[in-house]
C-alpha cells in the first residue's frame, strides 16, 4: 500500500531566539553542537521543491525565531516558486516595516504572531524578554500589509484566566485566526510541567469563554481551542498520525515525524543533505517505525472502540515519557494500564519557578 502523501512541512529554520518561553517545543539540547550548523538558503529551497513533489502544500516557517534568518525573503520566494502556501511563525519582535514589506513582495502568504499573555507585564515575564509592545506593533503591521493574521497564545495556569482579554485583543487586532494552544508537555514544557499544569476549573472557564466569543463574533475570527491531553481520556491523533500528514525539518536538516521525536531513543533521523526527501518520507526507518497500525501493542491492537485508524495510538513521545516505552498505548487513553500516571499529573500543579529556555548552558534537568 502506498504511503499517505504529506500535506505540511514544518521548517524549523533556526533554534536561535530572543525569547525564553518555558514551554518552548524545541529540544532541550538546542545549545548543543548538533544544531550549530543551519541549512543554507539553497538547501532549504531545494527541499521546498522536493516537498511539493511529494504532496506538501502548507509550509510553516518556524523556529526559534524565523526573523533571525537573514535569507528569509529568499526562502519565501523559494516557497512561492515551489508552489507552497507559506506561513511565517514569529514572536514579532524583529518584524520591522522594511522586512515585512520585503516578505510580502517575496510571496509570503500568512503571518502568525505569538503572544504570551494579553497583559503586557505578564507577557514579558513569561517570555523572559520585554516584547509585548513590539508584538502589538508587528500585528498591526501584518494587517496594514494585508496579510491574514493569526495570533497564537500557548495556554497554561499563568495565563488561562485572561482568556477573555486575549479573545478581545485578537478581535481588536483584526486577527482572522486565534490559536489557543494548551501547553503540550514536550521540549521545555517537560521540566516546567508542574508550574504550567492548569486546573480543571481554569480549563472549563476557558472553554466557556471561547463558546461565548464564537457565538458573539461568528466566523470572522476562527478560534482554535483544544482541550489539553492531560484532561482527556482518549488520545488525539498526534501529528495526524506518524508519517501520515506532516514532517518536521530541524535547523540542521534532520527530518523528523514530529517536533519531539528526537527524544525517542534509537530513532535515527535522515538528513536532507544526505538523502532525497522522497526517500526519507517513504523509506527511512524513523518514518516507518510507528506508521500505520502494525507496530501497535495491546490495548491498542484490540482497541475496544476500534480507534486504531482514528487516533493512531496517540502520541509516541508522551507514551515514552510516561511509560518508558515509545511503542506503548498513549497513557492519556483510559484503556492504558498507565492511565493513572496522567491522572496524577493533573494533581501535580505547583506554583513553582520557571526553567527558562536558553541556548547558553546545558539545561539542568
Amino acid at each position: 500500500m502506498p504511503h499517505p502523501k504529506p500535506f505540511t512541512l514544518i521548517a524549523e529554520l533556526s533554534y536561535r531566539c530572543p525569547l525564553h518561553c518555558p514551554y518552548c517545543s524545541n529540544p532541550v539540547d538546542i545549545g548543543g553542537d548538533k544544531y550549530r550548523r543551519e541549512l543554507e538558503t539553497e538547501d532549504w529551497i531545494r527541499t521546498f521543491s522536493e516537498s511539493r513533489r511529494l504532496g506538501v502544500l502548507q509550509l510553516a516557517l518556524t523556529g526559534g525565531e524565523t526573523m533571525l534568518r537573514r535569507d528569509l525573503t529568499e526562502l519565501c520566494a523559494g516557497a512561492r516558486d515551489a508552489g507552497l502556501y507559506s506561513s511565517l511563525i514569529t514572536a514579532g519582535t524583529l518584524f520591522t516595516r522594511e522586512r515585512a514589506a520585503a516578505l510580502k513582495a517575496g510571496g509570503l502568504d500568512h503571518v502568525q504572531i505569538s503572544i504570551q499573555s494579553p497583559d503586557p507585564q505578564e507577557n514579558d515575564r513569561i517570555a523572559g524578554n520585554r516584547s509585548f509592545e513590539k508584538k502589538i506593533t508587528a500585528a498591526r503591521l501584518v494587517k496594514e500589509l494585508d496579510f491574514p493574521l493569526t495570533i497564537n497564545c500557548v495556554l497554561h495556569r499563568h495565563n488561562l484566566d485572561r482568556i477573555e482579554e486575549l479573545l478581545d485583543l485578537a478581535l481588536e487586532l483584526g486577527a482572522q485566526r486565534l490559536e489557543l494552544a494548551n501547553t503540550q508537555y514536550y521540549g521545555w514544557a517537560v521540566p516546567n510541567q508542574e508550574a504550567l499544569m492548569p486546573t480543571w476549573e481554569q480549563l472549563q472557564r476557558g472553554e466557556e469563554a471561547v463558546r461565548r466569543f464564537r457565538e458573539r463574533v461568528g466566523p470572522k475570527v476562527d478560534v482554535l481551542w483544544v482541550l489539553p491531553d492531560f484532561y482527556e481520556d482518549l488520545p488525539k491523533p498526534c501529528m495526524g498520525g506518524w508519517g501520515r500528514t506532516a514532517m518536521v525539518i530541524a535547523p540542521n536538516g534532520d527530518v523528523l515525524p514530529c517536533q519531539a521525536a528526537s527524544t525517542i531513543p534509537g530513532l535515527e533521523f535522515a538528513n536532507v543533505m544526505e538523502h532525497p526527501l522522497e526517500w526519507i518520507w517513504n523509506e527511512s526507518e524513523a518514518f516507518a517505525r510507528f506508521r500505520g497500525t502494525d507496530w501497535m501493542q495491546e490495548p491498542c491492537r484490540s482497541c475496544p472502540l476500534g480507534r486504531q485508524e482514528e487516533d493512531w495510538g496517540g502520541c509516541r513521545c508522551q507514551a515514552l515519557r510516561l511509560t518508558g516505552d515509545a511503542a506503548a498505548t498513549d497513557p492519556v487513553c483510559r484503556f492504558s494500564p498507565h492511565h493513572d500516571r496522567v491522572l496524577s499529573a493533573r494533581e501535580s500543579a505547583q506554583p513553582s519557578e520557571f526553567v527558562y529556555r536558553t541556548m547558553k548552558r546545558p539545561a539542568r534537568i
Partner: protein
C-alpha cells in the same frame, strides 16, 4: 451577500500531485469539486452574486444553477472563507 470575495489570504489552486482543486487558507485546505472551484474563481469582490450565477449558467447550457451557487457561498461564508466586499 452582495459582492462575494475570498477571505484575505485564501488561494485557489489545482494540486497536480493529488489531482484535485483546493482552497488553501492559513495552515489548512478545503477540497473542492471542479464546479465549486469555478464558482469561487469568480468571487473577486467585483462581480455580484447574480453576475456569478449568470456566468456559471452560461457555461452549463443556461441550467438553473442559482440555488446551488447560493448554497455553496452560504456554506463558505459560514466557515469564514468567503466575505462580502461591499461596505
Amino acid at each position: 451577500m452582495t459582492r462575494p470575495r475570498l477571505v484575505t489570504g485564501a488561494r485557489l489552486r489545482y494540486d497536480e500531485v493529488r489531482e484535485e482543486h483546493l482552497l488553501l487558507v492559513p495552515e489548512g485546505a478545503v477540497r473542492l469539486n471542479p464546479t465549486a472551484a469555478e464558482v469561487l474563481e469568480l468571487c473577486d469582490g467585483e462581480r455580484s452574486l447574480d453576475d456569478i450565477v449568470g456566468v456559471i449558467a452560461g457555461r452549463y447550457d443556461n441550467a438553473d444553477v442559482g440555488g446551488d451557487v447560493r448554497e455553496l457561498l452560504d456554506a463558505m461564508t459560514n466557515r469564514g472563507l468567503v466575505v462580502d466586499a461591499a461596505p
